[in-house]
Structure formats: structure tokens, C-alpha cells
């Protein structure tokens, strides 16, 4: 499943890899560098991130935010 999340601040990824590490722990229970399948899209004045495969069975987001807070994410449906 795919989550579409609105980027509510205007910063950019600083390369800390915290999301990759968090995603790897969730996905495989390992310390590794999982590729977080992120796509950034622009829609008018707003930016959206699409995260593929990060929605759990109950519709909850498994990675809810950027751990470094570069991106503040709100579920945009």
C-alpha cells in the first residue's frame, strides 16, 4: 500500500539515513540500510511524499515521520 503525505515544512533531506535504519528494523529486524521508497511530488504550492509499502495491515503508517524532522508529514489520503 502507498501513503501520500504532505510535506508541511520546506526543508530538504539532510541525509541522516535515520528513516532507512528505522525502515530496515521494521521490515527485516536488522540493522541495515533499507532503501526507503520515497517519491517527492509537487502539486501546486504543496509538496507531497509518496511512501510505498509503509502502511500496515490496519492502515496505520509504519514510518510516520522523518526522524530528523526535516519533513513534517501529515496524511493526505
Amino acid at each position: 500500500m502507498t501513503a501520500r503525505l504532505e510535506v508541511t515544512n520546506e526543508q530538504f533531506c539532510r541525509g541522516c539515513h535515520l528513516c532507512c535504519l528505522a525502515w530496515a528494523r521494521i521490515k527485516s529486524g536488522t540493522i541495515s540500510l533499507a532503501e526507503v521508497p520515497v517519491r517527492v511530488q509537487r502539486d501546486g504550492q504543496k509538496f507531497f511524499i509518496t511512501l510505498e509499502g509503509v502502511v500496515g495491515e490496519e492502515g496505520n503508517l509504519l514510518v510516520q515521520r522523518c526522524p530528523r524532522h526535516c519533513f513534517s508529514l501529515t496524511h493526505a489520503g
Binding site: 539532510r14 541522516c16 539515513h17 530496515a24 540500510l33 532503501e35
Partner: protein, 286 residues
């Protein structure tokens, strides 16, 4: 450094263009970083290798993203330790290595590409920078040696001398890509300790900013690109933790407990004695 009993080192001979992996079972009590680096350097009397090491927290806990390097200063003849942020230490770990030892001198300018177990020596034409296309996208780190020192992208190693030392070996760049994963024996205990440590970021003397972040660090602080030449005599250089976070990893009980979560159980006394033990070994290298 995620195997409690083994330390995996990649040895490079630039002259012979040979790479050899050795799994040491007698290095774990040197912990990592400066301890392992000094011990490895001592294995080559009469030579001047350049040694890079990561530490036990490089991939596992925040605020320990630095790479330790030691080399002989061409100016003073002394052994120098220097530290750079970025992701080189992490990529070395994800490629399966706790350290990299670079010996001798290449006959012609070249770069080294390390992709997990695969090591490639590539000779360069004058002015060529072919290393920029090497490695796995998003999972690589590129060390470049120049007149202004050694950099991992934005991140500097804190001394201009290291660039000259590597260039004198005709080594212009080292690209490391790693895609290995390490299973955790107790994921719940680890995750709890990890989140607890990460939550301390607001209490550190370094403030979060919008500079590039080192691997696994949420701060992106104003110091991240600086690097450091010569460490203090505490546990930080053995963990290769960030030198700008004050006393956070200087407390032996905290370090002991985090190491225990990883299954690395060095006795308190051994941890406390490590800086002195390494300083004594280092004196013999002068």
C-alpha cells in the same frame, strides 16, 4: 563491530594491488576506533600504513558516526589520529568491515572501489575522476584526498596532512558501498535502548541545524563538517562518537549498558583502562 567475537579487517596493498580480508578474534578488547586502529598499525613495524576504523556504535546508536584514521605525520614523524563525520564508517560497516588498512604505494595514481566483498583497483589518467560513478546509489561513501585534506563529501577529516599522505601513496579516492544487514538477537531491547538514546538529542550541547547530517545523527549541526585532529583521552575515540556532543558517551556505565545490548560485554575495568593501554601501545610506535 556487530560480531562480539570477531573483528573483520580489509587489508589493501597498493603496490601489489592485492586485497585480503582477515577475521581477527583477538581485537575485541580494543573495542573499536582508535583502539583497533593503533593495534592494527602496530602490526606493521617499519611501515607507514593508513588505518581507518569504525566503532561499535557506528551502525547501532546515534551520535557515533565518525571514522577514525591514524597515520604517520610526514611533518613530525609522529602518529596522528584524526576523525571525520559523514557516512564512510557506516558504509565500511555495511560492507562488512570494522577497519581498512592501506599499505605501501601505488605505482600510478589510482582509486579504490570497495563494494561489499568486491575490491577493485582502478588506475587513473591525469585529471580523471572516474570514481564518481562507482558504488551503489544511496549506499556509498566517497573519500577524496586533495591538497585541502580528505573529505567524505561535505565532511572533512580535520587535518590537511591526511590528504597529502594518501596522495603520496597515489591513492586519490576510496569509494565504499555496503548493503549487508545485521540481525539483532534482541530487537525489542535494542529498539528501546536506541529510541532512548535518540531522544537525548535535545539535551546535547550541539543544537540541531540544517547542515548535512552525519550517518544516523538527527542533528545536522554546524560542526558536522569540521572533523577533528587528535582526540581527548576518554572513550569517545574508541566508540568514534561525535566529538561535539560533550560528555554524552564519556560515562562508562552508559557505554557498558549499550554495549551489553549489542552482546558486547567488556568489563568496566577494561573500558576504563582502555585509553591508557592504547596510549602506551602508541608510544611504542613513535
Amino acid at each position: 563491530m556487530l560480531d562480539k567475537d570477531k573483528t573483520t579487517i580489509l587489508y589493501i596493498d597498493l603496490e601489489k594491488k592485492e586485497a585480503e580480508v582477515k577475521v581477527h578474534t583477538d581485537l575485541t578488547d580494543w573495542l573499536g576506533g582508535l583502539g583497533v586502529a593503533v593495534k592494527l598499525y602496530s602490526l606493521f613495524p617499519g611501515e607507514s600504513p593508513v588505518v581507518f576504523t569504525n566503532g561499535p556504535f557506528t551502525l547501532t546508536f546515534p551520535f557515533a558516526p565518525f571514522t577514525c584514521t591514524i597515520f604517520r605525520s610526514p611533518g613530525t614523524g609522529k602518529i596522528v589520529d584524526a576523525y571525520g563525520g559523514g557516512s564512510f564508517a557506516a558504509m565500511l560497516g555495511l560492507a562488512g568491515y570494522d577497519g581498512l588498512v592501506i599499505r605501501n604505494k601505488a605505482r600510478r595514481p589510482m582509486y579504490l572501489a570497495i563494494e561489499n566483498e568486491k575490491v577493485t583497483f582502478r588506475t587513473l589518467r591525469e585529471g580523471e575522476q572516474a570514481w564518481q560513478k562507482e558504488g551503489l546509489a544511496g549506499m556509498r561513501s566517497v573519500l577524496e584526498s586533495g591538497a585541502g585534506g580528505v573529505t567524505d563529501g561535505y565532511f572533512h577529516f580535520g587535518t590537511d596532512e591526511l590528504g597529502g599522505v594518501l596522495r603520496a601513496k597515489n591513492l586519490l579516492a576510496v569509494v565504499v558501498s555496503g548493503s549487508h544487514g545485521y540481525p539483532l538477537s534482541d530487537l525489542a531491547a535494542y529498539s528501546s535502548a536506541y529510541e532512548e538514546t535518540l531522544a537525548q538529542s535535545e539535551r546535547l550541547p550541539v543544537k540541531s541545524s540544517n547542515f548535512p547530517s552525519c550517518f544516523g545523527c538527527p542533528l545536522g549541526c554546524q560542526h558536522s563538517g569540521k572533523g577533528l585532529r587528535e582526540s581527548e583521552s576518554d572513550l569517545a575515540p574508541f566508540l568514534v562518537s561525535c566529538p561535539f556532543i560533550g560528555g554524552f558517551y564519556k560515562e562508562v556505565p552508559l557505554v557498558f549498558s549499550l554495549l551489553s545490548v549489542l552482546g558486547l560485554s567488556l568489563p568496566h575495568e577494561q573500558l576504563e583502562a582502555l585509553p591508557l593501554r592504547v596510549a602506551e601501545l602508541r608510544r611504542t610506535l613513535m
